[in-house]
Symmetry: C2
Subunit: 221 residues, 2 copies
Amino acid sequence: MRISELAKTTGVPVATIKYYLREGLLPEGERTSPTQAVYDERHAERLRVIRALIASGVSIAESRRVVAALDAPPENPLDLLGAAHAAVTPAADGPVDLTAVQDLVAPLGWRPGLCDDTVLRGVATALAGLESAGFSVPAGVMPVYLSALRDIARAEIAGVPTDSIESAVRYVVLGTVLVEPLLLALRRVAEQIASAERFGGPAAGQNEQPGGGSAAVAGER
Amino acid sequence: MRISELAKTTGVPVATIKYYLREGLLPEGERTSPTQAVYDERHAERLRVIRALIASGVSIAESRRVVAALDAPPENPLDLLGAAHAAVTPAADGPVDLTAVQDLVAPLGWRPGLCDDTVLRGVATALAGLESAGFSVPAGVMPVYLSALRDIARAEIAGVPTDSIESAVRYVVLGTVLVEPLLLALRRVAEQIASAERFGGPAAGQNEQPGGGSAAVAGER
């Protein structure tokens, strides 16, 4: 199909498709003349993936690394996960002492060599952000984070398809990035429900108005 | 202190402080002359919070809503959480059918009125993003997400301090936003460890080289 048809099929404007081509996110079509090229269903699928990445807040540069991991997958699933994580983990500046992070993640089963430094540095960066705001996770909450995330990770990795390297790549690379907004959104729902359970609301019968005060907050938007 | 001292104390350049003042993120100092103002420790603390929000990827507009929630806290902790969530949840466009989301979050204890529509729409948006990329969460993984996030939310809400409204506000508003990068970073560590457990690596003794293939990936950066 020509670029105009690709735009129609995917709902992505021609100008945006050209931008993705220039940025190296979308592979070139097959040239049929110096000014024309044809595209196929793989371009359409790739476009949908790019749109989802961008919509999830992944930058152009990060998206380029994600699609590179999709295009040239390492053979070992372990390397694949590393590539996916490296693609979307901001590089930390300068040397970081990872000893405290290693102690923190010991309950996850961490041992030297079991995960790469990129993701440990990601944890160090997140902790530094909390500290600079003067915020600390209560002592009793951190063990719950670790145990809940261990459950999540084990279920996710158990779900990695083994029928083909393509489907494993797709699952690991996209699952890492695209599921993040879902997890964060579900956490907010769970927090509001837990809050209603603790502080009252329709559940506790202390607030007869459907939606309670929270509805007013939502209505302000 | 004068603005130059505030800059020195916090490490935030004067030009950036002036930008935050213009954007309404930082309250004005006390005017001592038409061209001079003095600032106190509360300005320094607020600046540290703003820096942490921005560093976490929160936009200027979202940060403005977060500090507004810090400045004018609702009296009910339930409303507070709604305000914090509304501040950092992108508004969904147009009407959204929330029935499917309500079914999905039923295992969290959802009932009508128990949480506001803003956060349910956040889940709908995240699910739409996955769907548009042709990605679906395996059937066996979703229940694990829900149960793990219920555990996380209950621990977090149990940790809300009740000694003062100020500390509750700070905990809820900053905890919602600033903890997100930590949870995502810990998930990546947990995924790599779970992957090493399933697919081999130093843990399973199938890869004698410390760091395995993942070290090469990290080294590429």
